[in-house]
């Protein structure tokens, strides 16, 4: 796997949480997350709210400092680098944020915000900046007339296009897309997704696509990693993971997506109870308290992410013990 553009191994992020008068406990937002993205490929990171998706994305880009693990960009270790060194690598890896308006400084016209990375990293000569900004605006489907406008004067979709243009300004090879369309309405969402797809083809970008929307994921992603309480519980090619899920959590996620037609019937697999708190999570399989298939053995042995075949792996203890030929269909 040396041909990966981004390689993450054992990434962890823990936050101390005050509890009681003196005590501190740990909130585990990401635990031993390992993933890799090849150049030009899309890896989707899916999971429910609070599963640690955004934290993983921010730790990879060093917008937050990870508590442990390694991140390699294009074979170069960046985990230990000081901020001043990371800054030099930032042009290669950029992020598109979930809330387009909040990610744009309200006091500056959007053209200046897009120009910022251009002159910070000397991407184009000073005299060319204006021309390049207009070019970037065109690239994301915005007219020249928007250059001088302020973020609040644009619609949500336009704001997100500005966010994308700003991310593209430094000619990155990797984009972390942190739920880029979840704040937009459905028609605009489709436009932005198409734009992202076109841009990927045109610019040979690699995407780490963070999302909770499996329909969107199935349209955009080559591979999927499912995150639950900071742990990856299943990875594999998108079709396989979504249509033949191994892990009960993935099954529950898939069965929670709306069906295409009212008469369509499908089996509902529902998890009971609230999501388990990421503060002091269960020691072994973290899904045990909510899993409809859990057996006593599940909370006794360590749940490890194990390969099932060349492309897929899962963390489900029962699956690893009971599956035959990659098929496992328990009824209770």
């Amino acid at each position: 796997m040396t041909d990966s553009l981004l390689e993450v191994a054992g990434l962890g992020k823990r936050y101390p949480v005050r509890s009681g008068v003196f005590g501190f406990r740990e909130l585990v937002a990401a635990d031993e997350v390992s993933l890799s993205v090849k150049a030009g490929e899309t890896l989707a990171l899916v999971g429910e709210s609070g599963s640690g998706k955004s934290t993983v994305g921010r730790c990879i880009l060093r917008l937050e400092t990870p508590s442990g693990g390694r991140v390699r960009l294009d074979g170069k270790e960046i985990t230990e680098l000081p901020e001043s060194e990371v800054r030099k690598l930032r042009p290669q890896m950029q992020m598109v944020y979930q809330e387009p308006l909040e990610s744009l400084n309200p006091r500056h016209p959007v053209g200046k915000l897009v120009a910022e990375p251009l002159f910070l990293h000397g991407i184009v000569p000073k005299s060319d900046i204006k021309r390049r900004v207009v070019e970037l605006f065109r690239l994301v489907g915005l007219g020249e007339e928007h250059v001088g406008r302020y973020p609040h004067a644009l619609s949500g979709g336009q704001q997100q296009r500005v966010g994308i243009a700003r991310a593209l300004a430094s000619n990155p090879r990797l984009l972390v897309l942190d739920e880029p369309t979840s704040a937009l309405d459905v028609s605009v969402e489709a436009q932005i997704l198409n734009l992202l797809k076109d841009l990927q083809e045109k610019l040979k970008l690699a995407y780490l696509f963070i999302s909770h929307d499996l329909a969107v994921v199935s349209m955009l992603a080559d591979r999927v990693a499912v995150l639950y309480l900071g742990q990856i519980v299943e990875t594999g090619p998108t079709r396989d993971v979504l249509f033949n899920s191994y892990h009960p959590y993935t099954r529950a996620l898939v069965s929670a997506t709306p069906v295409d037609h009212p008469r369509q019937k499908k089996r509902r697999i529902s998890l009971s109870g609230e999501p388990t708190s990421p503060i002091d999570p269960p020691a072994n399989c973290r899904l045990v308290p909510r899993c409809p298939f859990a057996q006593p053995v599940c909370s006794k042995v360590e749940a490890e992410l194990a390969s099932v075949d060349a492309h897929r792996s899962t963390r489900c203890v029962r699956f690893q013990r009971e599956h035959r030929n990659g098929i496992w269909n328990p009824s209770e």
Partner: protein, 287 residues
């Protein structure tokens, strides 16, 4: 060049529109700008030399020759009030400028870096703020001696904690904003984030506070001069003039104190009216 005229016309139309929608703020601006112009043009407008004494013409009530009457040495109150604009506006704006720069620098560093720096700086500010403002200003002005620069320093010093707290609280909020993170994401340095991204977003409430503070600074300056710790005679400062006339009110010569007092009241009101409307004016979303 040809494009300038229509642009000016468009801008003045926008200004007129704004004035109609915010008559109170516009009124405040009108007062302050009007007084400012009067102060600048004082040598042209004032009918007499503000320092000229005329013992033969002492304590005359307001008349056409002396609009605001004459003082206890026969000086023309109207001319002195006009020249007083220069002194009092100068002290007010100077004190606010010093206080603003010093206070918000403290607040910005405390708010952005947090931790021990924050703790030390803000406790120092608490010490300053623990004294009643006017009393502390009295002490400082008393130690430094009566002069205009000392008066400015004394008033500015007392106001430092106000700006420090305000800018710190603002910075604490916007430091963790998503656009600050996004700026780091595109590769901006700490200094750049501070200066280009955070500072412009923290200024609006500080400016609002400083216009309100302008009125108070003038009031403080007049107060200190009134009790003899500020500017001294024969400088045409409003507080001094009030102090001079105060014992005469009871004997019927009310105009000696009344007109400088009126000038202070109108000025403070003007600044307060501006302060109230400025918040709205500085919001980028309204443009």
């Amino acid at each position: 060049m040809a494009a300038v005229a229509p642009r000016i016309r468009a801008n003045s139309r926008a200004l007129l529109h704004w004035c109609r929608r915010n008559p109170v703020t516009a009124f405040g601006f009108g007062i302050i700008i009007g007084l400012g112009i009067l102060g600048l043009l004082a040598p042209l407008v004032a009918p007499y030399d503000p320092y000229a004494l005329n013992p033969a013409n002492r304590m005359r009530p307001p008349s056409w020759d002396h609009l605001f009457g004459t003082g206890i040495f026969g000086e023309d109150i109207f001319s002195r009030v006009l020249y007083g604009i220069r002194i009092d506006f100068g002290i007010g704006l100077g004190a606010v400028a010093f206080g603003l720069v010093a206070g918000s620098s403290v607040g910005v560093f405390a708010g952005y870096y947090g931790g021990k720096i924050d703790e030390v700086l803000m406790r120092l500010m608490d010490i300053v703020a623990a004294f009643p403002g006017f009393i502390l200003a009295m002490a400082i002005a008393g130690v430094l001696g009566p002069s205009i620069p000392n008066l400015i320093i004394a008033i500015a010093f007392v106001n430092v904690p106000v700006y420090a707290r305000l800018s710190r609280s603002r910075f604490l909020v916007i430091r963790s904003s998503l656009y600050a993170m996004a700026a780091r994401g595109v590769g901006a340095s700490d200094m750049r984030i501070l200066a280009w991204h955070l500072l412009p977003n923290s200024l609006a409430p500080i400016f609002v506070q400083s216009t309100l503070q302008c009125g108070w600074a003038i009031l403080d300056a007049a107060g200190l001069s009134f009790i003899g710790l500020g500017v001294h005679l024969p400088t045409p400062e409003w507080g001094v003039m009030i102090g001079l006339g105060a014992p005469r009110i009871i004997s019927g010569q009310w105009w000696i104190s009344f007109f400088p007092g009126l000038a202070i009241a109108i000025t403070v009101m003007g600044f307060n009216l501006i302060g109230d409307g400025l918040q709205d004016l500085l919001d980028p979303k309204r443009w």
